[in-house]
Symmetry: C2
Subunit: 425 residues, 2 copies
């Protein structure tokens, strides 16, 4: 089965929003063995939508359309598809009841054009929308299926996962029973290097498949197996993960841990340890990332954003002579900052960043991208202390957003250094 | 003139990367009066690329292709376009020289397939690449133009701005001389409300045009005029901005100020005042956003991330009885936090957040989305003190990333409250 994605919306053609739907759907389809040969975008225009639909159906088995299911006059996806297949539009009572329930508790009145969202082509499959008002639907012709989903990603993505994926898997049910994935989380090595080391292996992998995703300095490898039950899938996946570990194990910080910050929170919770942060160049970004995790309060006490030297001195006990002799961006300052954070906030672990994020402030001796990460860990039981700093060159020359890339990479390295206290990476 | 965007790359069809190029180009083209009717994506496949190119040229005046200009065997954009127009490929000596210069200082050897990047269809226009190895190019047929650009956004975007935009403006030179834009920054009102209030006015605007952009809780209106010189453009823009102010002035926080955090830094620099932050639910996000601005160190001292109550008490002087009587998420705590930040970090202004970001931790009395923002400002000259807290309901029910949306909205409101100290919003 081949698929094609057709996104409808003038706001996409004006460039007001980036089309994340096409990427999401292509990635999800690939994970269940359906390849996307084309992605297209058209505006809210009946004529061009009809032409694009005809073209898509001429070359693909499944066409997934996003957008144009809303209540206004220029939402015309359902109507266009119905006309193409010669189907009448009818009120779908179940969807109408759902709509009424959504509007009832709020003060908003349900206007007649809202009812339009419950009008459906006859004999279609309707998918309820748990995150908005417009339901999804599927129309099935001979060997061709058109699936229509709401445009907003926060409605479309859960609808895909909860409704469309099972719907598509059922179509393939002779071949695939269930799918299980495990994700290998990698830090400190680029996607191209991962691909270089594992290229042949990844290309030849059929069951399980191995798909790489690069995300802001990290790489994830998603290993997906199909089988008749979970045990069979896992028994296919695990040897592949072992093979990956044997090649690039030194860069793997976890399996299915979601993110560096999540891995840190999980590990500290397991060890029952408290963390404090001391941030200069990252300005709060480490704290922000840790506090993305709901429930992090059991391990994260807080931190000091010491952008100005006065805060480094007064709130982190960095010595004036250290700043004078070595400068704010130095190994010595990073070391004093993380110790100060741990001691002043009464934490087991302190982590610090200080660096030149640019674009200004660099010099030959201390160029833009130079960052020091400090870690301090006092084991309260043994009294043992780990206290160290790493020097990083995070310059991303020729990048438009170099400052933000350096800061993000610095925060990732800080989280990574905390993890490295406990796992052999 | 109408345009169409054709992005080439199997990684797009696998969903490994999101197609930001299409949005960038559509937005930029719209700004110079060229509307995009279609965006398409095809893989690195000569047959499908040729078919897509033919379709695009049949319906649009300008086709912009991104991707497939690199050195490997599956980069075949130039070759496919040349064949379509019946043009021979020739070595472009100037580009070859540039390539040699790029490779010379590094230890990387320039392999023969790298030279492929300097092969060009005869008689094309070549655009140098200042951020990578593959040059861009344009092939002009009768009334049809195909422009080919490198795929990586960090190479493509500056090439568009520096080379392609002037190239396209020259094509339209009879009509448009220069373009000038001003951006109106709006906070505290949704995009749909802005459109509701200004709908007819925005739809009828021709010169200048008025285009809305919604970005994470803020709305921007870009007012763009074309004229023979800057003065003429500005004299067209300013009355339109005044009209916008008369309709929604209470929500406008600046013209051409880039972002809330930038507006804060500019205003504090103008007033020569220092800011400190005290963050609970935002966990460092306010600090992170302020420190995005290079040079913010002249106004931002730093802050305390007081996720745990012990940090609120010890580092922000929040009284234990306040926490006991009113709770950490309360007006009283917000008030003590901002005052503590200003006093302890020796700043003129302190701003604080405390709230329930969810998904856990909510109750009937204090539901998810309840956030207090506190501001403390002591005017050192007059001794006058402003000390207040606002209560916000930032719940975004049915949103997948509700926690992050609440936190971001809380940080935006905190920045907005700092601005409101000085400008009549």
């Amino acid at each position: 089965m081949t698929a094609e994605i057709l996104c409808v919306g003038t706001e996409l053609l004006l460039g007001n929003i980036v089309n994340t739907n096409a990427a999401f759907l292509s990635r999800e389809l690939a994970a269940i063995g359906i390849f996307t040969y084309y992605q297209s975008v058209v505006g809210d225009n009946a004529g061009r939508l009809k032409e694009s639909l005809a073209l898509s159906l001429s070359r693909s088995d499944i066409v997934i359309i996003t957008g144009g299911l809303g209540p206004t006059y220029d939402d015309l996806t359902k109507e266009t598809v119905a006309k193409y297949f010669g189907l009448d539009m009818k009120m779908h009572e179940e969807s109408l009841e759902r709509l009424k329930k959504i509007f009832a508790p709020s003060n908003r009145q349900m206007t007649p054009n809202n009812e339009k969202q419950a009008m459906m082509p006859e004999d279609c499959v309707v998918f309820p929308n748990n995150y908005g008002t417009a339901p999804g639907l599927a129309v099935e012709g001979k060997n061709k299926t058109v699936i229509m989903l709401p445009g907003p990603p926060r409605e479309m993505e859960p609808m895909y996962v909860e409704e469309i994926k099972p719907f598509l898997l059922k179509k393939q049910s002779d071949k695939i029973k269930i799918l299980v994935s495990k994700t290998v989380h990698i830090f400190g090595i680029g996607e191209s290097q991962v691909e270089y080391k594992l290229h042949e292996f990844m290309q030849n992998a059929i069951n399980p498949t191995v798909a790489p995703y690069a995300k802001e300095g990290e790489v994830e490898l998603r290993v997906t197996a199909s089988g008749s039950d979970e045990n069979e899938c896992v028994s296919l996946i695990d040897p592949v993960i072992n093979k990956i570990k044997s090649e690039i194990g030194e860069f793997i910080y976890g399996i299915d841990v979601k993110s560096l910050q999540n891995a840190v929170v999980l590990k500290l919770r397991e060890k029952n340890l408290k963390l404090a942060t001391a941030e200069s160049c990252t300005g709060g970004l480490i704290g922000k990332r840790i506090t993305e995790i709901s429930g992090c309060s059991s391990v994260y006490l807080g931190g000091i954003i010491s952008y100005d030297n006065s805060v480094k001195i007064n709130k982190l006990n960095v010595r004036q002579e250290t700043l004078k002799q070595y400068g704010a961006v130095s190994e010595q300052t990073a070391l004093e900052m993380c110790k100060g954070a741990a001691e002043n906030l009464n934490a087991d672990i302190g982590v610090s960043t200080t660096g030149i994020a640019g674009p200004d402030g660099g010099s030959d001796e201390k160029p833009v991208g130079l960052v020091y990460v400090g870690v301090y860990y006092k084991n309260k039981k043994t009294g043992e202390i780990i206290h160290k700093a790493v020097k990083l060159n995070l310059a991303r020359r020729m990048h438009k957003d170099e400052r933000e890339m350096i800061r993000y990479a610095a925060s990732s390295n800080a989280l990574y250094e905390v993890l490295k206290l406990f796992i052999e990476i």
